[in-house]
Symmetry: C2
Amino acid sequence: MRDGLTDLLVAFGVAYGVSVILFIAASLDGYIAGPDDDLSWMFTDADFGFSDFYSDVDTLIMGRGTYEVVRSYLDWPYPGKRVIVVSRNPDNEADTPLTEIYSDDLADLLTRLDGEGAKKIWLVGGGELVQSFLKRDLLDEITVSMHPILLGNGVSLFLGGFPRTMLMLKDMKSYEGGLVQLNYHVMPAEDDEADE
Amino acid sequence: MRDGLTDLLVAFGVAYGVSVILFIAASLDGYIAGPDDDLSWMFTDADFGFSDFYSDVDTLIMGRGTYEVVRSYLDWPYPGKRVIVVSRNPDNEADTPLTEIYSDDLADLLTRLDGEGAKKIWLVGGGELVQSFLKRDLLDEITVSMHPILLGNGVSLFLGGFPRTMLMLKDMKSYEGGLVQLNYHVMPAEDDEADE
Protein backbone atom coordinates (compact mmCIF):
# COMPACT_ATOMS: atom_id res chain seq x y z
CA MET A 1 0.00 0.00 0.00
CA ARG A 2 3.03 2.28 0.04
CA ASP A 3 5.91 3.48 -2.01
CA GLY A 4 8.40 6.33 -2.21
CA LEU A 5 6.91 9.62 -1.12
CA THR A 6 3.96 7.87 0.47
CA ASP A 7 6.30 6.01 2.80
CA LEU A 8 7.98 9.20 3.80
CA LEU A 9 4.65 10.86 4.51
CA VAL A 10 3.40 7.91 6.50
CA ALA A 11 6.69 7.68 8.39
CA PHE A 12 6.27 11.26 9.51
CA GLY A 13 2.71 10.77 10.53
CA VAL A 14 0.94 12.33 7.59
CA ALA A 15 -2.20 10.30 7.11
CA TYR A 16 -2.44 8.76 3.70
CA GLY A 17 -4.76 6.04 2.55
CA VAL A 18 -5.21 2.96 4.64
CA SER A 19 -2.99 1.88 7.54
CA VAL A 20 -2.65 -1.70 8.75
CA ILE A 21 -1.88 -1.81 12.45
CA LEU A 22 -0.93 -4.73 14.64
CA PHE A 23 -2.07 -3.94 18.20
CA ILE A 24 -1.34 -6.87 20.44
CA ALA A 25 -0.24 -8.11 23.86
CA ALA A 26 2.81 -10.32 24.20
CA SER A 27 5.13 -11.77 26.81
CA LEU A 28 8.77 -10.66 26.89
CA ASP A 29 9.66 -13.95 25.23
CA GLY A 30 7.33 -13.25 22.31
CA TYR A 31 4.22 -15.31 22.97
CA ILE A 32 0.70 -13.99 22.47
CA ALA A 33 -0.89 -16.95 24.25
CA GLY A 34 0.36 -19.70 26.48
CA PRO A 35 -0.18 -23.41 25.85
CA ASP A 36 -3.85 -24.26 25.07
CA ASP A 37 -4.44 -20.61 24.09
CA ASP A 38 -4.07 -19.56 27.72
CA LEU A 39 -4.58 -15.81 28.09
CA SER A 40 -4.89 -15.78 31.88
CA TRP A 41 -1.50 -14.02 32.22
CA MET A 42 -2.72 -10.89 30.45
CA PHE A 43 -3.39 -7.76 32.46
CA THR A 44 -7.06 -6.87 32.44
CA ASP A 45 -7.07 -4.28 35.21
CA ALA A 46 -6.83 -1.42 32.73
CA ASP A 47 -7.47 -0.59 29.11
CA PHE A 48 -3.84 0.15 28.14
CA GLY A 49 -4.89 2.53 25.35
CA PHE A 50 -7.02 -0.02 23.51
CA SER A 51 -10.31 1.95 23.54
CA ASP A 52 -8.61 5.00 22.05
CA PHE A 53 -6.99 2.84 19.40
CA TYR A 54 -10.15 0.89 18.63
CA SER A 55 -12.53 3.85 18.47
CA ASP A 56 -11.39 4.92 15.00
CA VAL A 57 -10.63 1.48 13.61
CA ASP A 58 -13.03 0.91 10.71
CA THR A 59 -11.94 -2.55 9.59
CA LEU A 60 -10.58 -5.67 11.27
CA ILE A 61 -8.56 -8.35 9.50
CA MET A 62 -8.19 -11.66 11.29
CA GLY A 63 -7.30 -15.26 10.54
CA ARG A 64 -9.90 -17.98 10.53
CA GLY A 65 -8.63 -19.48 13.80
CA THR A 66 -9.17 -16.21 15.63
CA TYR A 67 -12.57 -15.82 13.97
CA GLU A 68 -13.69 -19.25 15.14
CA VAL A 69 -12.82 -18.25 18.69
CA VAL A 70 -14.52 -14.83 18.73
CA ARG A 71 -17.66 -15.98 16.84
CA SER A 72 -18.23 -18.49 19.65
CA TYR A 73 -18.57 -15.68 22.20
CA LEU A 74 -22.06 -15.00 23.52
CA ASP A 75 -21.88 -11.45 22.18
CA TRP A 76 -20.17 -10.50 18.94
CA PRO A 77 -17.34 -8.28 20.18
CA TYR A 78 -17.01 -6.05 17.12
CA PRO A 79 -20.43 -4.51 16.41
CA GLY A 80 -20.32 -1.76 13.80
CA LYS A 81 -16.90 -2.73 12.47
CA ARG A 82 -16.23 -4.35 9.16
CA VAL A 83 -14.47 -7.70 9.59
CA ILE A 84 -12.41 -9.52 6.96
CA VAL A 85 -11.59 -13.13 7.78
CA VAL A 86 -8.59 -14.36 5.84
CA SER A 87 -9.03 -18.03 5.03
CA ARG A 88 -7.46 -20.40 2.53
CA ASN A 89 -10.90 -21.91 1.97
CA PRO A 90 -13.37 -19.49 0.30
CA ASP A 91 -16.20 -21.88 1.16
CA ASN A 92 -15.95 -21.03 4.85
CA GLU A 93 -18.97 -19.08 5.95
CA ALA A 94 -19.31 -15.93 7.95
CA ASP A 95 -22.49 -15.59 10.01
CA THR A 96 -21.62 -12.49 12.02
CA PRO A 97 -22.40 -8.83 11.21
CA LEU A 98 -20.44 -7.04 8.48
CA THR A 99 -18.17 -10.07 8.09
CA GLU A 100 -16.62 -11.35 4.87
CA ILE A 101 -14.42 -14.35 4.11
CA TYR A 102 -11.44 -13.49 1.92
CA SER A 103 -9.14 -15.99 0.20
CA ASP A 104 -7.25 -13.96 -2.39
CA ASP A 105 -4.19 -11.76 -2.51
CA LEU A 106 -3.63 -9.53 0.53
CA ALA A 107 -2.25 -6.56 -1.42
CA ASP A 108 -5.36 -6.66 -3.61
CA LEU A 109 -7.50 -6.72 -0.48
CA LEU A 110 -5.85 -3.58 0.86
CA THR A 111 -6.18 -1.81 -2.48
CA ARG A 112 -9.88 -2.66 -2.49
CA LEU A 113 -10.42 -1.59 1.12
CA ASP A 114 -8.50 1.64 0.44
CA GLY A 115 -10.74 2.32 -2.55
CA GLU A 116 -13.78 1.67 -0.38
CA GLY A 117 -12.64 4.30 2.12
CA ALA A 118 -11.02 2.20 4.84
CA LYS A 119 -8.54 4.25 6.87
CA LYS A 120 -7.48 2.25 9.88
CA ILE A 121 -7.27 -1.52 9.84
CA TRP A 122 -6.61 -3.54 12.96
CA LEU A 123 -4.70 -6.71 12.22
CA VAL A 124 -6.07 -9.03 14.90
CA GLY A 125 -3.79 -11.85 15.91
CA GLY A 126 -0.19 -12.84 15.35
CA GLY A 127 1.68 -15.76 13.89
CA GLU A 128 0.72 -16.69 10.35
CA LEU A 129 -1.30 -13.59 9.58
CA VAL A 130 1.46 -11.22 10.74
CA GLN A 131 3.97 -13.31 8.81
CA SER A 132 1.88 -12.97 5.64
CA PHE A 133 1.67 -9.20 6.01
CA LEU A 134 5.39 -8.82 6.78
CA LYS A 135 6.36 -11.04 3.87
CA ARG A 136 4.49 -8.71 1.55
CA ASP A 137 5.57 -5.48 3.26
CA LEU A 138 1.94 -4.64 4.00
CA LEU A 139 2.15 -3.82 7.70
CA ASP A 140 2.33 -0.15 8.68
CA GLU A 141 2.42 -0.05 12.43
CA ILE A 142 3.05 -2.28 15.44
CA THR A 143 1.95 -1.65 19.02
CA VAL A 144 3.09 -4.36 21.41
CA SER A 145 1.92 -4.38 25.01
CA MET A 146 4.84 -6.25 26.51
CA HIS A 147 3.80 -8.03 29.68
CA PRO A 148 6.38 -8.56 32.43
CA ILE A 149 6.42 -12.32 32.11
CA LEU A 150 8.28 -15.13 30.39
CA LEU A 151 5.79 -17.80 29.32
CA GLY A 152 8.39 -20.32 28.13
CA ASN A 153 5.93 -21.89 25.72
CA GLY A 154 2.86 -21.05 23.66
CA VAL A 155 1.70 -19.26 20.52
CA SER A 156 4.40 -17.04 18.97
CA LEU A 157 3.78 -13.47 17.85
CA PHE A 158 6.47 -13.60 15.18
CA LEU A 159 7.00 -16.82 13.26
CA GLY A 160 9.94 -15.56 11.24
CA GLY A 161 10.29 -16.31 7.56
CA PHE A 162 9.91 -12.68 6.49
CA PRO A 163 12.59 -10.24 5.31
CA ARG A 164 14.55 -8.11 7.76
CA THR A 165 12.35 -5.14 8.55
CA MET A 166 13.42 -1.83 10.06
CA LEU A 167 11.16 -0.17 12.62
CA MET A 168 10.90 3.38 13.85
CA LEU A 169 10.04 3.84 17.52
CA LYS A 170 7.19 6.33 17.73
CA ASP A 171 6.16 6.01 21.35
CA MET A 172 6.86 4.07 24.49
CA LYS A 173 5.07 4.06 27.80
CA SER A 174 4.92 1.95 30.90
CA TYR A 175 1.91 1.19 33.06
CA GLU A 176 1.56 0.28 36.69
CA GLY A 177 2.28 -3.40 37.03
CA GLY A 178 5.16 -3.23 34.59
CA LEU A 179 3.43 -3.46 31.23
CA VAL A 180 5.51 -1.67 28.59
CA GLN A 181 3.78 -0.50 25.44
CA LEU A 182 6.01 -0.01 22.41
CA ASN A 183 4.67 1.67 19.30
CA TYR A 184 6.62 1.34 16.05
CA HIS A 185 6.17 2.52 12.51
CA VAL A 186 7.17 -0.25 10.11
CA MET A 187 9.66 1.10 7.61
CA PRO A 188 9.17 0.11 3.99
CA ALA A 189 11.37 -2.58 2.51
CA GLU A 190 14.37 -1.17 0.67
CA ASP A 191 14.52 -1.60 -3.06
CA ASP A 192 17.12 -4.07 -4.28
CA GLU A 193 18.91 -1.24 -6.08
CA ALA A 194 19.18 0.72 -2.85
CA ASP A 195 21.22 -2.12 -1.36
CA GLU A 196 23.94 -1.91 -4.01
CA MET B 1 20.62 -18.79 45.09
CA ARG B 2 17.48 -17.31 46.63
CA ASP B 3 14.57 -18.10 48.83
CA GLY B 4 11.94 -16.42 50.96
CA LEU B 5 13.18 -13.28 52.65
CA THR B 6 16.20 -13.17 50.37
CA ASP B 7 13.93 -12.90 47.36
CA LEU B 8 12.04 -10.09 48.92
CA LEU B 9 15.24 -8.22 49.74
CA VAL B 10 16.64 -8.75 46.26
CA ALA B 11 13.33 -7.72 44.71
CA PHE B 12 13.51 -4.43 46.52
CA GLY B 13 17.09 -3.82 45.55
CA VAL B 14 18.81 -4.79 48.77
CA ALA B 15 22.09 -6.37 47.73
CA TYR B 16 22.45 -9.91 48.97
CA GLY B 17 24.97 -12.47 47.81
CA VAL B 18 25.55 -13.03 44.16
CA SER B 19 23.31 -11.79 41.32
CA VAL B 20 23.15 -13.38 37.90
CA ILE B 21 22.30 -10.81 35.25
CA LEU B 22 21.47 -11.27 31.60
CA PHE B 23 22.47 -8.08 29.77
CA ILE B 24 21.87 -8.49 26.07
CA ALA B 25 20.76 -6.91 22.80
CA ALA B 26 17.84 -8.35 20.88
CA SER B 27 15.54 -7.59 17.98
CA LEU B 28 11.84 -6.98 18.64
CA ASP B 29 11.20 -10.50 17.35
CA GLY B 30 13.56 -11.99 19.93
CA TYR B 31 16.76 -12.74 18.05
CA ILE B 32 20.21 -11.99 19.46
CA ALA B 33 21.92 -12.61 16.13
CA GLY B 34 20.79 -12.93 12.55
CA PRO B 35 21.56 -15.91 10.31
CA ASP B 36 25.30 -16.85 10.32
CA ASP B 37 25.69 -15.04 13.65
CA ASP B 38 25.16 -11.70 11.92
CA LEU B 39 25.45 -8.83 14.41
CA SER B 40 25.65 -6.03 11.84
CA TRP B 41 22.16 -4.79 12.79
CA MET B 42 23.22 -3.86 16.33
CA PHE B 43 23.66 -0.23 17.25
CA THR B 44 27.29 0.60 17.98
CA ASP B 45 27.06 4.39 17.97
CA ALA B 46 26.71 4.51 21.74
CA ASP B 47 27.39 2.47 24.84
CA PHE B 48 23.76 2.06 25.97
CA GLY B 49 24.74 1.71 29.62
CA PHE B 50 27.05 -1.24 29.10
CA SER B 51 30.21 0.32 30.59
CA ASP B 52 28.39 1.23 33.77
CA PHE B 53 26.95 -2.27 33.99
CA TYR B 54 30.26 -3.98 33.18
CA SER B 55 32.46 -1.93 35.51
CA ASP B 56 31.34 -3.78 38.62
CA VAL B 57 30.81 -7.21 37.08
CA ASP B 58 33.30 -9.57 38.72
CA THR B 59 32.45 -12.81 36.94
CA LEU B 60 31.23 -13.80 33.48
CA ILE B 61 29.43 -17.04 32.70
CA MET B 62 29.22 -18.02 29.04
CA GLY B 63 28.57 -21.08 26.92
CA ARG B 64 31.34 -22.79 25.01
CA GLY B 65 30.08 -21.51 21.65
CA THR B 66 30.38 -17.92 22.80
CA TYR B 67 33.79 -18.67 24.31
CA GLU B 68 35.10 -20.09 21.03
CA VAL B 69 34.08 -16.87 19.30
CA VAL B 70 35.56 -14.42 21.82
CA ARG B 71 38.82 -16.37 22.36
CA SER B 72 39.48 -16.03 18.62
CA TYR B 73 39.59 -12.23 18.92
CA LEU B 74 43.01 -10.61 18.61
CA ASP B 75 42.64 -9.17 22.11
CA TRP B 76 40.94 -10.96 24.97
CA PRO B 77 37.94 -8.70 25.66
CA TYR B 78 37.55 -9.43 29.37
CA PRO B 79 40.88 -8.69 31.08
CA GLY B 80 40.68 -8.70 34.86
CA LYS B 81 37.34 -10.55 34.97
CA ARG B 82 36.87 -14.11 36.05
CA VAL B 83 35.29 -16.19 33.27
CA ILE B 84 33.40 -19.46 33.69
CA VAL B 85 32.79 -21.39 30.48
CA VAL B 86 29.91 -23.81 30.83
CA SER B 87 30.59 -26.88 28.72
CA ARG B 88 29.21 -30.40 28.67
CA ASN B 89 32.73 -31.64 28.06
CA PRO B 90 35.10 -31.07 31.03
CA ASP B 91 38.06 -31.91 28.77
CA ASN B 92 37.68 -28.64 26.88
CA GLU B 93 40.55 -26.35 27.62
CA ALA B 94 40.65 -22.70 28.55
CA ASP B 95 43.75 -20.80 27.45
CA THR B 96 42.66 -17.26 28.30
CA PRO B 97 43.23 -15.30 31.54
CA LEU B 98 41.23 -16.19 34.68
CA THR B 99 39.16 -18.68 32.68
CA GLU B 100 37.77 -21.98 33.90
CA ILE B 101 35.78 -24.72 32.18
CA TYR B 102 32.79 -25.89 34.23
CA SER B 103 30.69 -29.00 33.53
CA ASP B 104 28.76 -29.61 36.72
CA ASP B 105 25.57 -28.36 38.33
CA LEU B 106 24.80 -24.66 37.86
CA ALA B 107 23.30 -24.13 41.33
CA ASP B 108 26.45 -25.61 42.83
CA LEU B 109 28.53 -23.26 40.70
CA LEU B 110 26.65 -20.22 42.02
CA THR B 111 26.96 -21.42 45.60
CA ARG B 112 30.70 -21.79 45.09
CA LEU B 113 31.09 -18.40 43.41
CA ASP B 114 29.00 -16.81 46.16
CA GLY B 115 31.27 -18.37 48.76
CA GLU B 116 34.28 -17.05 46.89
CA GLY B 117 32.95 -13.53 47.05
CA ALA B 118 31.38 -13.06 43.62
CA LYS B 119 28.73 -10.32 43.66
CA LYS B 120 27.70 -9.57 40.11
CA ILE B 121 27.72 -12.20 37.40
CA TRP B 122 27.11 -11.34 33.77
CA LEU B 123 25.41 -14.17 31.92
CA VAL B 124 26.85 -13.73 28.43
CA GLY B 125 24.71 -15.04 25.63
CA GLY B 126 21.20 -16.34 25.20
CA GLY B 127 19.54 -19.49 24.02
CA GLU B 128 20.64 -22.66 25.79
CA LEU B 129 22.51 -20.98 28.63
CA VAL B 130 19.57 -18.70 29.49
CA GLN B 131 17.23 -21.67 29.22
CA SER B 132 19.38 -23.63 31.70
CA PHE B 133 19.36 -20.77 34.21
CA LEU B 134 15.62 -20.15 33.85
CA LYS B 135 14.85 -23.85 34.20
CA ARG B 136 16.64 -23.85 37.54
CA ASP B 137 15.30 -20.45 38.68
CA LEU B 138 18.88 -19.13 38.89
CA LEU B 139 18.52 -15.88 36.93
CA ASP B 140 18.09 -12.66 38.95
CA GLU B 141 17.90 -9.86 36.43
CA ILE B 142 17.33 -9.24 32.72
CA THR B 143 18.31 -6.15 30.76
CA VAL B 144 17.27 -6.33 27.12
CA SER B 145 18.36 -3.65 24.68
CA MET B 146 15.51 -4.01 22.22
CA HIS B 147 16.58 -2.86 18.76
CA PRO B 148 13.95 -1.37 16.43
CA ILE B 149 14.16 -4.16 13.90
CA LEU B 150 12.51 -7.45 13.00
CA LEU B 151 15.17 -9.92 11.85
CA GLY B 152 12.76 -12.64 10.74
CA ASN B 153 15.37 -15.33 11.34
CA GLY B 154 18.46 -16.07 13.44
CA VAL B 155 19.57 -17.07 16.92
CA SER B 156 16.79 -16.84 19.54
CA LEU B 157 17.23 -15.17 22.91
CA PHE B 158 14.61 -17.38 24.58
CA LEU B 159 14.30 -21.00 23.53
CA GLY B 160 11.36 -21.78 25.77
CA GLY B 161 11.16 -24.99 27.73
CA PHE B 162 11.34 -23.27 31.12
CA PRO B 163 8.55 -22.63 33.62
CA ARG B 164 6.39 -19.51 33.46
CA THR B 165 8.40 -16.77 35.14
CA MET B 166 7.10 -13.47 36.47
CA LEU B 167 9.19 -10.34 35.98
CA MET B 168 9.21 -6.99 37.73
CA LEU B 169 9.95 -3.96 35.57
CA LYS B 170 12.63 -1.94 37.30
CA ASP B 171 13.60 0.54 34.63
CA MET B 172 12.94 1.45 31.03
CA LYS B 173 14.64 3.96 28.81
CA SER B 174 14.83 4.78 25.15
CA TYR B 175 17.84 6.03 23.20
CA GLU B 176 18.16 8.06 20.05
CA GLY B 177 17.63 5.74 17.13
CA GLY B 178 14.81 3.91 18.85
CA LEU B 179 16.63 1.42 21.03
CA VAL B 180 14.51 0.59 24.10
CA GLN B 181 16.25 -0.80 27.15
CA LEU B 182 14.08 -2.81 29.52
CA ASN B 183 15.38 -3.83 32.90
CA TYR B 184 13.54 -6.54 34.86
CA HIS B 185 14.01 -8.28 38.14
CA VAL B 186 13.23 -11.98 37.75
CA MET B 187 10.73 -13.01 40.39
CA PRO B 188 11.39 -16.30 42.15
CA ALA B 189 9.40 -19.35 41.18
CA GLU B 190 6.39 -19.93 43.38
CA ASP B 191 6.44 -22.94 45.66
CA ASP B 192 4.02 -25.68 44.73
CA GLU B 193 2.23 -25.15 48.03
CA ALA B 194 1.75 -21.48 47.26
CA ASP B 195 -0.24 -22.44 44.17
CA GLU B 196 -2.81 -24.34 46.14
